[in-house]
Assembly symmetry: D2
């Protein structure tokens, strides 16, 4: 099969180099407001941060720490009253693991790595325990493997309408299943919950995506899904709004409760983030622009 | 103050040695059922496993792995059809950190260690996000510190009636707040949710407890709460049914979704676990029997 | 078509005569416990109570009142401490309205009788508002009429497993949709919610049914569904456990919140009700035993 | 006591005459959209509609029907595509029943009129069954009577912040209890649920109110609460935003599911309603302007 053949040749598409920039804008109303930002591109084996810059409008001592389990990078600041602007820009190289979907199997529970296990359990927004029988009825009879996960992806995409402002911070996978509307975060929660409900580990990933449809509004943070299959985490975008090959990873977690791009403790007003992403040429002068491909892609492991 | 004085003297009560034994009993209906057990006492700096024995009635190769982040020890087996008995016994030494509650402060979000942060976020059974305003109204005005957490503990204990079989695997902190009944797991979830709702990290711990009231039924697994204060996790038992000084830790997690003593994938029937715990003399011949004390206790860090 | 022809002949199957008996058994723990029973067969144009007897073991003054809107008959007593037995028996004649399903249309909202309108709105256990988009996706495209309601009936029956003790007094239509298990009450709530979600009036009916499968346990109260189509309420049994032609109506309401067979205010323990039903010959000596028929049946209007 | 004396004198304050006007504005996108309006002032023994006018911008045949159980008046129209304006104005006389709160008792379940009973049961937005133990803990020990209901009213008012746009059509009493914010409808649902949870009948009433604080925005429909005490339904306004003496009743029901001012079936866009209310002199030339009074007021029965 041609997919397998081409994947065997070089295991990837060559590095995809992306240039990202984001600007956040707050008004801090009282002293001592704490911010936890997760707006740094993660360093992983397959996502290389070539350069990056962080600028804060207040004279703060930014501390950036990396969580060893997830590679999430957290910036914590305690801001003073008044305006606070945060600007981050970076150049990122992605070197995808590329595989033929037809060759990727599910992993028996007994063989899952320990650090994957917690992603089979239910979480705040992904109540997979309540969906077990429902999901087994829909997907339990399917051939196990990447194709079954693709079927869950397609089911979510087909039944759910992307509608801005249709959900709140309380909206869970069950709400989305019943309401049949949502934004990228809601699509992701529903797909994750259904995967876990049939005992397939799935997790929530956030970042910035290349190639979003401008009809959906100005560029924004994106949430997508990773599913553990074979021996690694594969990318899925159940909202169908982005190009998986153009994802830049910021945060990885169980669901949106874990990986807000900003968690704020205190009285703060905020404006919409401004976000940009572009594809540029790599060190070798070649420009690999993200595009839809039929392959299974992973940027983890 | 006398508490501080006595704590300053030796930092603990001397080692508490406990002997525990548990027996689990299953009928496996089909080939290939996976079990993930979390029934091994955790090894921590303050909980020392002196000896332990594991016996399985089937000729399986038990693999026991330790999660580096939580110290949880997982036994995974894939069982054959037929009966399966699992027996575990161990001798444990606990050497508590002991502190005067009046000296223990809360930790600002900006200063929390990174590996503590995720315990501020909502989880499957502890929807702290939905309880933020409710909790701030009840507890937001209290003096910050151990005393505030004790107030949350007392509030949960006072408003909730311990009632066997009053909850299901779907019961969450909100259900318990409204229903005002539950078992130890439910008390723990409610206390955790209320702590997180006022931005205090709290987590769910399971194990076996010494000194449970026999009126509550035969000895069973116990769930309790740890709250991050000062520079470590302190023990709380909002169900009021056990003696915190007699807790043997098996699992630590966000809530019950993370730390079931047994997670079973497949068609299996089970009987009630048989559990025993006794206080015995330590290596120095002294027997320190767990008792209620007015001090703050920690077995972590 | 033969169905229409036979229905045109006599509009019904001749009277179905049933003999029912029920016995309820309580221990009243404190003075002044109020009971509201709905255990009298309703008098309607098509359900005739030939004879009936009520016996109470305490010397109470039973007051039986009939709600003019629903025909529900309520027995209210304030019991003394000690045992209370309530026995009711009756002989009932049912004279069904019989119609060919293919001829029965839905009714436009603008043309619904005023006393039917409230059965389009959501209720405690039938959150049709939350299921609107879900139901429109599943059933919105179907040909409007009895057949669409039959499709909803079949969908519920096919996806839900009848399982004793699988639900509680808190279980709603959404829980049943997700959990895919329930008892007759849960099947009824789900079918009602889905009908209302596509703007078809549906209501909850309780009583005793002839012909229940003994494998489901001893005879019990039954809950079924009525849907307003054409110019009357037609019977549906989404649990598939009974013979609609053998339903004896006690109560009619929006959902189970309205028509418990017993609502008890105070401290009372109860035992399982004992219930009997048999088919007997009518005044003309003919015995019409309830059986499954392909016709649409109504006992209302 | 002076309250009792003054109430004994004339049983009311003299008729309160109010002039109301409302205008609704829609764009109908497709043929055959059905509207059910409940925008006519109810005719009751104590609310007299002196004059009224209805104007529709489309040449429709408006049918207005009165529900005999609730006195709700429903206007149903099937609109054509294009703009639709609905204007209603009326002059209303209110003649309140006035009583001394201290003399008003609760009614035993056994003595409640049959047509009041259903208002003890849970409904879509008022899940009193789930709040029974919670409410008994808060209010179960209080002296039974008007004062206990006033305590529930005060509890809701004190704990809940009036916040525009803080709730959706899915928000229930439990959400409001936990979230501690809402609009008038949410305050009403929570008070109703808590009353029913301690077995006191309570219902949801909509209409227009005199004297709303302009700081809350332009005049709007209002939702308030009626509680059955003594021998009639007494008015409560748990949102604290209006003057109960100035309520004009449109609809009465179990909760907001029953008495939307407009229920629309089809694709329609709408603008904010324009509403006016003023106090004018009555037939005798006296003008009684609604004001806050310490008496218990009823406009029902």
């Amino acid at each position: 099969m041609t997919l397998a053949a081409s994947a065997a040749d070089d295991d990837d598409f060559g590095p995809v180099r992306l240039r990202i920039a984001l600007a956040l804008d707050y008004d801090v109303a009282e002293p001592g407001c704490d911010f936890i930002f997760n707006i740094h591109a993660a360093h992983t084996e397959r996502q290389h941060v070539v350069t990056e810059t962080l600028t804060l409008s207040q004279p703060l001592q930014p501390a950036v720490e990396t969580d060893p389990a997830t590679h999430n990078r957290y910036l914590r600041v305690q801001a003073r009253p008044g305006p606070l602007q945060v600007a981050y820009s970076a150049t990122i190289d992605l070197r995808h693991h590329v595989a033929d979907p037809g060759t990727i199997a599910e992993v028996q529970i007994a063989r899952l790595p320990l650090n994957v296990l917690s992603y089979v359990y239910p979480s705040r927004y992904c109540q997979s325990d309540r969906l077990h029988r429902f999901a087994m009825r829909e997907f339990g009879h399917l051939w196990q493997g990447y194709g079954r996960v693709q079927a869950i992806h397609d089911w979510v995409l087909e039944r759910t309408a992307f509608t801005s402002n249709s959900s709140t911070s309380d909206t869970s996978a069950i709400d989305t299943l019943l309401g049949t509307v949502g934004v990228c975060r809601d699509f992701a929660h529903l797909m994750i919950a259904l995967c876990r409900a049939v005992n397939i580990p799935a997790r929530f990933t956030t970042g910035i995506d290349y190639g979003a449809d401008p009809a959906l509004g100005p560029p924004d943070f994106h949430a997508y899904v990773e599913v553990y299959l074979g021996d690694r985490w594969y990318l899925f975008d159940p909202s169908g709004t982005a190009i998986p090959m153009g994802f830049v990873r910021f945060g990885t977690g169980r669901d949106a409760a874990d990986v807000a791009f900003a968690t704020i403790f205190g009285s703060v007003t905020s404006r919409a983030p401004r976000i940009g992403i572009e594809s540029i040429a790599g060190d070798d002068g070649r420009q690999i622009t993200p595009r839809h491909v039929p392959h299974a892609l992973s940027t983890d492991g």
